[in-house]
């Protein structure tokens, strides 16, 4: 009798042990309070300066060798485009950055807003990717390795800014397309991305994120009447490499102002913490239940029992 129970206990423990070895090591724990690389670069976007000329869109298109758009970049009718009933334009696999126009409540002048990847300090796309296709580089860019991408599109689910797009129409090599901060061609060499350099209004300031944050707050402090007292992207989803200051409330410029202040991965950590607990406790717990429930009864099927007897080592 004791042999049977011990053998079964060992079998269950072995199964549990195997499961533990397969348990993912939780990189997320180590990265618990990651706030970005100290010398990571960023861009400060001052929405009050943008006139909606779309020069940045054209520069991005050229730099990233994207296909020619349906409407030329000096066609401003795109600002009136409405998709899916109530949606303004968004980034696509053919446009990594776009500018939208927003009509404000308290002003006749509209506000323009440039949209591209915000290069989060702790990106949701990166932490949701099961093949680790994304990398946050020390320079501050969130880049993507198309050679390992399986195409599950979890990053598109996870991105709080609706940025990554997918080349659905590719048969053999569909991949994610998004702004990469001109990493390969510019950022790696310390140069600002194409959109920043092309802007005639100096809407965007390129520099170290921590220096730019000081500048942003200084601008707000010097012109308290002009700016809303909030730097969008300083705290949102754990801080973003690109951040914004604005004359109008951010929700009026289409920003999601209900985003958590903590990185998206923080929502998932409760669950990730459960994983090792289940892996270690369940085998003993359920083998224990088995021993308690079947004490004095036959273990296993009738036909099985005879084999158990013969099995004694």
């Amino acid at each position: 009798m004791s042999k049977i129970t011990r053998r079964k206990f060992l079998a269950a423990s072995a199964a549990g042990g195997t499961a533990i070895m397969m348990a993912p090591t939780k990189k997320a724990f180590a990265a618990g309070s990651f706030e970005g690389f100290p010398d990571g670069m960023g861009v400060l976007v001052d929405l009050t300066r943008c006139v909606g000329c779309r020069t940045c869109e054209a520069a991005c298109n050229k730099e990233q060798k994207l296909p020619e758009p349906a409407l030329p970049f000096d066609d401003y009718s795109v600002f009136d485009e409405i998709h899916h009933g109530n949606q303004k334009r968004r980034t696509t696999d053919k446009a990594y950055t776009i500018v939208n126009r927003y009509d404000l409540k308290d002003s006749d002048e509209p506000l323009y807003r440039k949209i591209q990847c915000n290069h989060c300090n702790e990106p949701a796309c990166l932490t949701s990717c099961f093949v680790n296709a994304y990398t946050k580089t020390p320079e501050g860019a969130v880049i993507y390795n198309s050679h390992v991408c399986v195409g599950c599109r979890n990053c598109m689910i996870a991105c709080p800014f609706h940025i990554p797009a997918y080349t659905y129409h590719s048969v053999l090599n569909p991949v994610i397309k998004k702004c990469i901060f001109c990493y390969d061609t510019r950022l790696k060499e310390g140069r600002p991305p194409a959109c920043v350099e092309s802007c005639p209004q100096q809407v965007m300031t390129f520099g170290k994120r921590k220096d730019l944050m000081v500048i942003a707050h200084e601008r707000i402090k010097k012109n308290p009447d002009k700016y809303i007292d909030h730097v969008y992207g300083e705290k949102e989803v754990g801080g973003t490499g690109w951040f914004y200051i604005s004359s109008a409330p951010f929700e009026e410029a289409g920003f999601d102002v209900h985003l958590p202040k903590k990185p998206i991965i923080d929502n998932v950590k409760d669950f990730l913490a459960i994983v090792p607990v289940v892996l270690t406790v369940w085998p003993a717990l359920f083998t224990g239940f088995h021993l308690l429930a079947t004490k004095g009864k036959s273990h296993g099927h009738g036909d099985d029992h005879s084999h158990d007897e013969q099995e004694g080592h």
Partner: protein
């Protein structure tokens, strides 16, 4: 197939025929009929015609998807990257297949061998559900030939999907092992049967661990999208447990539904043991489902209370939430309880059917319907429906093919007689 007797044939249910001869593989596959007889009965079967029509339309569409890309059969949406293939195929099929580990636990861990008549049906239901969830996944992935990458090539261990991938793959192997005992009996490979039976407890406990985690992980996947999923269907601390707990009634009720269909359409294949025991087993499974449902219902309200989301009750989405909860959690709970109390098997079956629908609605609500509630609604491309229905039809056809042959609904006699 009811006419099997008209051919004067008893279905294959033992290693030896009545006259002491061995069954050949061909005879086993053709259920003891000659090829002409088999084809004749297959053509007379109306369900086969129904499947033929679905496959004639659907299989070319699946081929079309692989030749002309995912963009050709979906809206290629950037805002709804997951459509019906995952929303239905993965998020619904997996909870409905939780039956394997539930019944495995009941019989093997808790030693309730009186549930044995239904155990194999529950295990098979689990195996096929997971297998076809993976089929749906393969259709949905941009580069399905890279499916093994998270296992062997590039690891993203902080991702919930990494856990789902590993666990579904491992659990699928565990379920193959569990169901293989039936297959070994059928082909007459006693040593294989003995080998697997020795590890039953280990396999079952591994099944509990893996199921707890990946059923929950499917819920945790949506934790990456706070603000995208409507708050009434989103709860950072409780999402995983809501998905896990609801998978318990889901799996049990799926077994009730399948056994109901089987007893009405494939009675020739069920042995006396299965037929005689099904009524009390149905009620017993209904009891388990009812306990699961009440726990799930309470957790639902705890999740709402924890995040203080009561205000959403008075919105349109709140009404939709109440529709789901009243119609597909509370109503089946009442029906099941009444059915259990008065021992009304038919009522339990209706309750189980409603519960299964409720799980479908809940998963679709989370993955598609309330997803991007602040943006816009998107109805999946009609070809997505065609492909989803086709794969489901292949699932049902495979299910039926196996049930007609392997000792799932009947006990293999060579074993019973020993």
């Amino acid at each position: 197939m009811k006419k099997l007797e008209t051919f004067g044939i008893k279905p294959h249910d033992a290693s030896l025929k009545a006259d002491g001869e061995k069954w050949s593989i061909m005879e086993k596959l053709l259920l003891g009929l000659t090829l002409d007889q088999y084809i004749g009965q297959a053509i007379r079967n109306k369900l086969n015609w129904f499947f033929a029509i679905i496959f004639a339309i659907g299989i070319p569409v699946i081929i079309y998807r692989f030749i002309f890309s995912l963009g050709a059969v979906t809206h290629a949406s950037y805002d709804y990257p997951w459509g019906l293939f995952l929303g239905f195929g993965l998020f619904c099929m997996v909870p409905l297949s939780a039956s394997g580990f539930m019944l495995g636990t009941t019989v093997e861990v808790f030693g309730r061998h009186d549930f044995e008549p239904i155990e194999r049906l529950a295990l098979l239901n689990g195996l096929l559900g997971y297998f076809f969830a993976v089929v749906y996944l393969l259709v949905d992935l941009g580069q399905p030939w890279r499916l093994s990458y998270p296992m062997v090539y590039s690891f993203g261990p902080a991702a919930v999907l990494f856990l789902v991938g590993w666990h579904v793959a491992t659990y699928l192997s565990v379920q193959v092992a569990e169901v293989s005992t039936a297959f070994f009996e059928w082909i007459g490979f006693q040593r294989g049967y003995d080998f697997i039976r020795k590890g039953t407890i280990g396999l079952t406990v591994a099944g509990i661990i893996l199921s707890t985690l990946h059923q929950g992980a499917l819920g945790a996947l949506f934790l990456y999208a706070p603000g995208k999923v409507h708050p009434l269907w989103y709860s950072a601390p409780f999402q995983w447990i809501l998905f896990f707990i609801s998978s318990i009634p889901a799996g049990l009720c799926m077994v009730i539904c399948v056994s109901t269909i089987v007893i009405h359409t494939m009675k020739w294949r069920c042995d006396k043991r299965f037929i005689d025991n099904l009524d009390w087993i149905t009620i017993a499974l209904a009891k388990g489902s009812a306990m699961g449902l009440i726990t799930y219902l309470i957790m639902k309200f705890i999740a709402i209370a924890h995040d203080n989301e009561w205000a959403y009750f008075f919105t349109g989405w709140g009404a939709w939430w109440w529709f789901e909860i009243l119609g597909f959690v509370i109503l089946p709970l009442v029906i099941l309880s009444y059915g259990i109390h008065n021992k009304l098997v038919g009522l339990c079956r209706i309750g189980a059917f409603l519960t299964v629908l409720g799980i479908l609605l809940n998963r679709l609500n989370t993955a598609l319907i309330t997803f991007n509630w602040q943006l816009y609604q998107e109805i999946p491309h009609y070809l997505e429906f065609v492909i989803a229905i086709t794969i489901f039809a292949i699932y049902v056809a495979t299910y039926r093919f196996i049930l007609a042959r392997l000792p799932i609904l009947y006990k293999f006699r060579s074993q019973a007689e020993e």
